[in-house]
């Protein structure tokens, strides 16, 4: 197999790059060892930064955020809810930091409007009465799953290809170039060789492993961040704590819920990343200083992601290491057709893709301008089902003869069919987990108790899963959900967990049937 550009990694960077290249007429193959947005791209706040968060620590990144914020709101409005955002300081916070904020914003060209704390509470009644300073900025909420799904959908329309569950096993080099890339499908064991003209390492937290296969040393730091999902939406706008970035200081609306995050914990290994009870309690504590109601709320689940950070000998803490865009050209290390995008942010994914595509095109001798700055990102069926509000709206309009398989998120049978098609288009492996990456399946209050069984049954009924496959997949899916539920099991959510266990263990005895311990 031959391709002009082999992109390693199917997160926002990889899929964004595939689209950018496709719009310039460059064909690419994206290989992803797991599934779309399986890493950091799928486990973040879904925050489209105004840039305000970085004005003190990283003005360059702040400026980039602001520019990209404006571009994405124009080209991908269907992936964004333009909520606006607040920065608020509470009693006891560093008043100097708060006082300097507007000036710092203006230096970076970031619009920022002073608010009387009383006015801020009128806009967001959930805010603490102890707010002492407030500013309005252009933050918004963005759906990272939809962004990636739409990017890859258009890239595929224009000739790109995507292979999920496909891992790089080795590179063959010849004359300072990567000549052949060896791949393996991690589900089937099938081996594939690709001869690419250019190779782009966009493997996120796994860039070190990939680069090592090419004999290149990249040192990364990994910082785990845990987030919490509330049972309902707490605020209309993004709310940031107006202080030097810390734990539990951002609350982002995500459709019908809100996402509270994050922590920042240095980790050495990428295995078994899971949210912990300590992190959850810490965030609820910190978050409640801005929004007291966060103390008594129902949390549906938690999740954890890893921020990959390029290691630089600066002695800075993990939040201060520049999260700005970087592109490593490996020519000096003896490889002329290899590049790595080691780190970045959701907000600036398009810019990263543009700069990387510029390099790829220059190396390929392709003279085509970047179009993603102005070309709208089309809305496609494969990205449609990640949006929380869409399910209900669409279903209520078109519900005839289309039974609901998920009652929490109102996903009808037809949506499940469409999600299954999308998995096939990505050469993905059909599983409930893969459906969860492409839709709201399993994300509602019941955390898969009812929809999990129904969708597994649907797959069995339509012959897409056979024999005990369905049962094994259901087990794996419930375990996957459990990772996020376990840290928030008190009040209402422990009741849900008990119902789930009463059914799957009490009635179905699933714990003694099949599957192994993780």
């Amino acid at each position: 197999m031959h391709t002009q550009a082999l992109i390693i990694g199917g997160g926002v960077t990889g899929t964004g790059l595939a689209r950018d290249l496709a719009l310039r007429g460059v064909e690419s193959l994206v290989v992803e060892k797991n599934d779309i947005n399986a890493g950091a791209s799928g486990s973040n706040h879904g925050l489209l930064h105004s840039g305000g968060r970085y004005v003190a620590t990283d003005p360059g990144a702040a400026r980039e955020c602001h520019e990209e914020n404006e571009i994405l709101k124009k080209i991908a409005p269907h992936c964004i809810e333009d909520t606006g955002g607040l920065f608020v300081a509470v009693e006891g916070d560093d008043e100097e930091y708060a006082a300097d904020f507007p000036q710092r914003c203006s230096k970076c060209g970031i619009p920022c409007q002073w608010l009387d704390p009383k006015e801020a509470r009128e806009m967001e009644p959930a805010l603490s009465t102890r707010v002492i300073a407030a500013y309005l900025v252009d933050d918004a909420s963005i759906d990272p799953f939809r962004i990636s799904l739409e990017n890859i959908a258009q890239a595929q329309d224009l000739g790109a290809d995507l292979l999920c569950h496909t891992e790089v096993t080795g590179f063959e080099k010849e004359n300072s170039r990567i000549k052949t890339v060896h791949l393996i499908n991690t589900n089937t064991g099938e081996e594939i060789s690709v001869e690419p003209e250019q190779v782009i390492n966009a493997a996120g937290a796994w860039v070190t492993e990939v680069a090592a296969l090419a004999g290149i040393d990249i040192e990364m730091l990994y910082s785990k961040g845990t987030l919490l999902v509330t049972g309902h939406r707490v605020t209309e706008r993004v709310v940031n704590r107006l202080r030097s970035p810390g734990d539990g200081d951002i609350l982002v609306p995500g459709g019908t819920v809100s996402l509270l995050g994050t922590t920042s914990i240095r980790i050495d290994s990428l295995d078994r990343i899971r949210p912990t009870i300590e992190e959850v309690d810490l965030m609820v504590d910190e978050g409640s200083r801005m929004i007291p109601a966060l103390k008594g709320l129902r949390y549906i689940r938690s999740y954890a992601g890893v921020r990959p950070l390029l290691k630089m000998d600066s002695g800075l803490d993990d939040r201060s290491v520049s999260r700005g865009f970087m592109l490593l050209d490996h020519t000096d290390e003896g490889l002329e057709n290899f590049a790595t995008v080691p780190s970045g942010k959701l907000t600036t994914y398009r810019f990263m893709a543009e700069k990387t595509a510029d390099l790829v095109c220059e190396r390929l001798g392709v003279d085509a301008p970047c179009l993603t700055r102005t070309e709208p990102l089309p809305s496609t069926p494969s990205g449609m089902w990640t949006e929380p509000a869409l399910g209900p709206k669409k279903w209520i309009r078109e519900n005839h003869d289309d039974p609901l398989l998920c009652e929490c998120e109102l996903l009808p049978k037809s949506s499940i069919e469409s999600i299954v098609r999308s998995i096939h288009e990505h050469n993905g492996d059909l599983s409930l987990k893969a459906m969860g990456l492409r839709s709201r399946v399993g994300k509602g209050a019941c955390q898969g108790t009812f929809c999990g069984k129904r969708i597994a049954a649907f797959l069995q009924e339509t012959g897409q899963m056979k024999g005990a496959e369905g049962l094994d997949d259901l087990r794996a899916f419930l375990q996957e959900r459990w990772r996020g539920e376990r840290p928030v099991l008190w009040h209402s959510q422990i009741m849900q967990a008990e119902l789930k266990e009463a059914l799957y263990c009490g009635s179905f005895d699933l714990e003694t049937h099949g599957g192994g311990q993780e």
């Binding site: 049954a457 069995q460 024999g467 049962l471 087990r475 376990r486 266990e501 714990e511």
Partner: protein, 429 residues
């Protein structure tokens, strides 16, 4: 002090799940004047099976054909399990008493001598249970003998999947087939059919005839036919027999997800039978306030949002269930009992409450938290003495058991209800 109407009784039972219902039955049959409160809901989650004891030790997931032997082993290994406070004879007798009552109310049960029976679950897995509704009995035989068998599903009956059951069991059951029928006249706008509406439909002879004629073409060589448990609300065992005769195959019901028709049948049978026996039922209502009078009698203020009636009782049995039923409540640092603030045996810090794997065979420590009792099933305080002389507890709220994993829920509910009622009687006498 209560100003509104006060109802006098010997015994007030809080909770209307299986344990509360069984306690009310035992009390009524002893001639104790009894009032029962609760928010209906416990029973509709029931599968209809009456488990006694199935798995021990949990660590290895050993399943026991003989539940009585399993209980003996359990008593050796987990000496504070509530079963250890029950005489084998009285546990057996209490289950028999409930089953006899249900039989009289039109819900006959069967069992395999002293042994557990293996049942098909709604997922196509199998589990052990003790007393099995007669409507499901042919399924026990079919699972054992594995004859050519047809599993029937209904389009729109969302939580029952014939294909899922056949898919799971098919590897070890070559003659197992499935088919979905379009059957109900009562499909909602969302394309869904509800089990209880289907069950009522099945009581209409024409509908049953139509079912027979629609199943027949798919029967082929099937000697047994599994149908979701929607075959009538009140005379389901007769419907199963009729269907078996008409189809010339052994028809059996398979349990469904909640809201389950067998659960509704149990709920209706208890409500009907207990009312007939003179139990005063106040459903749905919660106990919202309580106090004790100068003689130590309990005054319970019941209602939906604020107390609109008061009950004066010599004694109270707390059968309020666990988290789902709101008998227990988990704050983020402690598990509490919601009504009397009774001491709760804690599972440690929150990070100890649940294990990392949902399906960890050992079960989750939070599910063993609960109320500790003395030999008279009275909740005890830190000093080991009863918190109140006349407050008793039974069912899943009790500590040191994991009914979901041990498959001991019904035996626990019924056996401890019987013991609590006996303890109240001896106290009252």
């Amino acid at each position: 002090m209560p100003e509104s109407e006060t109802i006098e009784c010997n015994l007030a039972i809080i909770g209307c799940g299986l344990s509360g219902m069984a306690a009310a039955l035992f009390a009524a049959e002893q001639g104790i004047s009894t009032v029962q409160t609760g928010v209906s809901g416990g029973m509709i989650f029931a599968s209809g099976l009456l488990d006694l004891m199935g798995v021990h030790p949990l660590e290895t997931g050993d399943k026991w054909r003989d539940p009585w032997a399993a209980i003996e082993a359990l008593a050796r290994d987990i000496p504070d399990h509530p079963y250890t406070r029950l005489e084998k004879g009285s546990l057996r007798k209490s289950m028999e008493q409930v089953v006899a009552f249900l039989g009289d109310e039109g819900l006959p049960y069967l069992k395999d001598g002293e042994n557990n029976s293996e049942m098909i679950t709604p997922l196509g897995t199998s589990k052990y249970s003790y007393y099995v509704p007669q409507t499901m009995w042919n399924g026990v035989k079919a699972l054992k003998e594995r004859p050519p068998c047809l599993i029937l599903g209904f389009n729109g009956l969302n939580d029952f999947s014939a294909s899922q059951i056949a898919g799971t069991l098919g590897d070890q059951w070559p003659g197992l087939r499935w088919h979905n029928l379009d059957f109900s006249n009562n499909v909602t706008a969302a394309g869904l059919v509800s089990g209880d509406i289907m069950a009522r439909d099945m009581e209409v002879p024409e509908n049953l005839e139509r079912l027979v004629s629609e199943v027949r073409p798919y029967l082929n060589d099937a000697e047994a036919v599994g149908i979701p448990a929607i075959l009538g609300m009140e005379r389901s065992h007769e419907i199963v027999e009729e269907l078996s005769n008409e189809l010339g195959a052994r028809v059996f019901e398979i349990p469904t997800m909640p809201v389950s028709v067998p659960g509704l049948r149990l709920n209706e049978a208890f409500m009907r039978g207990l009312s007939a026996k003179g139990v005063k039922l106040f459903f749905p209502s919660r106990v919202l306030k309580w106090e004790q009078d100068e003689n130590g009698k309990f005054l319970l203020g019941i209602g939906r949002n604020r107390p609109d009636k008061w009950i004066r009782a010599e004694g109270v049995i707390l059968a309020a269930g666990r988290f789902w039923a709101k008998g227990l409540r988990a704050d983020n640092d402690k598990i509490r009992e919601t009504l009397f603030d009774l001491p709760v045996s804690q599972p440690g810090e929150r990070k100890e409450w649940h294990r990392r794997e949902f399906f960890d065979l050992r079960g989750h420590p939070a599910n063993r938290a609960g109320i500790e009792v003395d030999d008279l099933f009275r909740p005890v305080g830190k000093d080991g003495g009863p918190v109140f002389d006349n407050l008793f507890a039974c069912g899943s709220i009790l500590a040191h058991q994991d009914w979901m994993r041990m498959k001991c829920g019904s035996g626990l509910a019924i056996g401890t209800a019987s013991a609590a009622v006996d303890a109240f009687s001896s106290f009252n006498a």
